[in-house]
């Protein structure tokens, strides 16, 4: 059979779906496959991919973070307030502030989940409401507008770093992709990052193997918060106008991207590259349906919901068949291990 790992197979299948979706819309929409499509999608993916990466880290440990949308909103507002109060602030310092505020929220979530033992869905459900009301309180229901922001920040998302075959690669998108790749490499190679998989697939076994499961879960939440914080800064730069509802719904969008990208909601399996492709797929479909004349743009959510459900079902069926095949092969092989057959 195939020599590819199930994970790699998933990514390939996902890329195939991506190509098929693009090819389908290319036949439906005139002038579809051009640089503008790429630009449009890339500037929105830059934000979602960061959140989805953080969400993936948390889901890998068998937890979930519903508060990320509120973190994005709060940090977008807070960094906006900082930069309008001190326009001369160094960009790196601003980015660090965004990361730090986000990480602070993540730390709070992580402590409650890992050390106080409150299930993540309860903690982050509550945190989502609490951080949102913190934003309302902090902002005094005022908004940040583009006029409050320095020019460099507003220009940042549209800055072209380089152009490849007429396609512009913009700063925010490139930054997001670089971060995703770095996280991916860390997950593949670094021992502390590998611990996320260990804890997610079997917390007790991970503890016995000498991994501090609590610290690992805490680290995942802090990283997710920090990434959401950076996404908040990107959100501010892209939209300029920040109100108290900024970032609403990103928590569900990031879970959708991760799940579509093959990250198992039961923890322990999946990759951030998958989540990135999931985010691209979500945005590609949203963008294309808006331009498709045959259906109104209001079809977008229905199609998206259907797509996630069918992707997850197809994945489950495929995995079940793979497992069955493997069991059959092991039975045929000289030294069968009955234990593996139960998974």
């Amino acid at each position: 059979m195939t020599r590819l790992s199930p994970g790699a197979l998933r990514i390939l299948a996902l890329l195939l779906v991506l190509v098929l979706v693009a090819a389908f819309f290319a036949t439906q929409i005139d002038n579809y496959l051009n640089a503008r499509l790429f630009n449009r999608i890339s500037s929105s993916v830059a934000i979602v991919a960061l959140i989805a990466t953080g969400q993936t880290l948390v889901i890998l440990t068998r937890n979930i973070d519903l508060s990320l949308g509120s973190v994005v909103g709060f940090v977008a507002y807070a960094t906006g307030a900082i930069v309008s109060a001190a326009p001369e602030i160094h960009p790196v310092l601003l980015a660090l502030a965004a990361l730090a505020i986000g990480a602070g929220f993540g730390l709070l979530n992580g402590l409650l989940v890992a050390y106080a033992g409150i299930p993540s869905i309860i903690t982050t459900l509550a945190a989502m409401a609490i951080y949102r009301s913190a934003l309302v309180e902090f902002s005094g229901a005022q908004s940040i507008t583009t006029e409050d922001l320095p020019q460099w920040l507003v220009d940042f998302p549209n800055t072209q770093l380089f152009t490849l075959a007429g396609v512009q690669f913009r700063a925010a998108f490139v930054a997001a992709v670089v971060i995703v790749i770095l996280v991916h490499l860390a997950l593949l190679r670094l021992r502390p990052a590998r611990a996320l998989y260990a804890v997610g697939s079997n917390p007790e076994a991970a503890e016995m193997a000498g991994i501090d499961a609590r610290r690992t879960v805490l680290a995942a939440f802090v990283a997710a918060g920090a990434l959401a914080g950076l996404a908040g800064l990107f959100f501010l730069a892209r939209f300029g106008n920040i109100t108290v509802v900024a970032g609403l719904g990103f928590e569900l969008k990031s879970i959708a991207a991760a799940v579509l990208g093959g990250v198992s909601i039961n923890g322990g399996s999946g990759s951030v590259i998958g989540a990135l492709i999931g985010a691209v797929l979500v945005d590609l479909i949203e963008n294309s349906l808006v331009r498709w004349e045959l259906v109104s743009e209001f079809w977008r959510e229905a199609v998206l919901g259907f797509l996630i459900l069918s992707a997850v079902s197809a994945d489950a069926l495929l995995m079940r068949r793979l497992t069955r095949l493997r069991i059959r092969r092991e039975k045929a092989a000289p030294a069968p291990t009955p234990k593996e057959a139960t998974s």
């Binding site: 299930p119 869905i121 459900l125 509550a126 945190a127 309302v136 109104s296 977008r300 919901g305 459900l309």
Partner: protein, 317 residues
């Protein structure tokens, strides 16, 4: 499942008495019959769905799609009555049918396909909402028959409107089902361990599908109540309700891992959340802050008993 109140229910009752006393002290309006009816009426859809959500969570599943199903039912009703000119009574039946169908869809994917309910109902949260938007796009539709609006807005028995009456009746019905009947017992057993229940010969898949159907049905009914109460429907009806609903259920002491919790607890939690919000509204606290306070309450509700247990030395480390 003892007859008397458990420790958690007693605690909730104490909190409730406290909140009621504080509200009554802060505002003379609070204890008037009209304000008490309003208190329920403003969140009637959420609290009705919360009762069934208790079953879903005790059964160790979750249904994130209830807010969207509510929206879908309300939008389908508006499209059928306001645009296609169908009789409202027929439209109501069809909408309840949509709710059942949505529940079967959720339940089938969860129970038969073996997918996690979080993922399934997250995608139907997006999907049902999507169908609602296809139906109404960005229109707002009202002008329903007078008798329909009256059901939502006026008192049916004295000052008690249909919504509140439904809530009370549903509470009694579900209380009996959960605490006294075999169905309720099965709900707990499957919630504790689906495998054990399966080995004990229970048809767990059918049970789960039935619970998701009940959830869809009640969410659709809540959508109709919303249409009648507000008198106009848009594509975003019920958006975000799922989180408030789940908060009430968890605050009521239902374990997110399934297998434990009582409807009495959920009922008390509903009363606490409603009176807390009502009291804060009377003090001009904005909606977002109210939600934040409820969030703090949710964390405290899990944290405090744990800390207490640890201090008492019952739970090591």
């Amino acid at each position: 499942m003892t007859r008397a109140l458990g420790p958690w229910e007693t605690f909730l009752l104490a909190v409730l008495v406290l909140v009621y006393a504080a509200n009554a002290w802060l505002s003379p309006e609070f204890l008037t019959l009209q304000n008490q009816v309003n208190l329920f009426q403003l969140s009637i859809e959420k609290i009705i769905i919360a009762l069934v959500m208790a079953f879903v969570i005790i059964n160790a599943e979750i249904d994130l799609s209830v807010g969207s199903m509510m929206g879908l039912s309300a939008c389908a009703f508006a499209a059928m009555v306001g645009e296609a000119g169908l009789p409202a009574a027929l439209a109501c039946l069809l909408c309840l049918g949509i709710g059942l169908a949505g529940g079967v869809l959720n339940g089938w994917f969860v129970a038969r396909m073996g997918l996690p309910s979080l993922v399934v109902t997250l995608s139907t949260l997006i999907g049902f909402r999507g169908v609602a938007r296809i139906l109404l796009e960005d229109r707002s539709i009202g002008r329903f028959p007078d008798w329909f609006n009256a059901l939502g807005q006026r008192g049916l028995i004295g000052p008690v409107p249909l919504g509140l009456l439904s809530f009370v009746l549903l509470f009694v019905l579900l209380y009996v089902v959960l605490e006294r009947g075999g169905f309720g017992r099965k709900t707990y057993v499957i919630g504790v361990s689906r495998e054990v229940a399966e080995f004990a010969g229970l048809n767990t898949a059918r049970h789960k599908i039935l619970i998701f159907m009940a959830s869809g049905l009640v969410a659709a009914y809540a959508g109709l109540l919303f249409a009648a109460r507000v008198g106009a429907v848009r594509g975003d009806v019920g958006q975000g309700f799922e989180l408030d609903i789940i908060t009430m259920v968890l605050l009521g002491g239902v374990s997110i891992f399934g297998g434990s919790g009582t409807l009495t607890g959920v009922g008390l939690a509903i009363l606490i959340v409603l009176s807390l919000r009502n009291g804060m509204s009377l003090m001009n606290v904005t909606g977002h802050i109210q939600t934040g306070v409820v969030g703090l309450l949710l964390i405290a509700s899990v944290l405090v008993p744990r800390l207490g247990a640890r201090l008492a030395g019952r739970v090591p480390a």
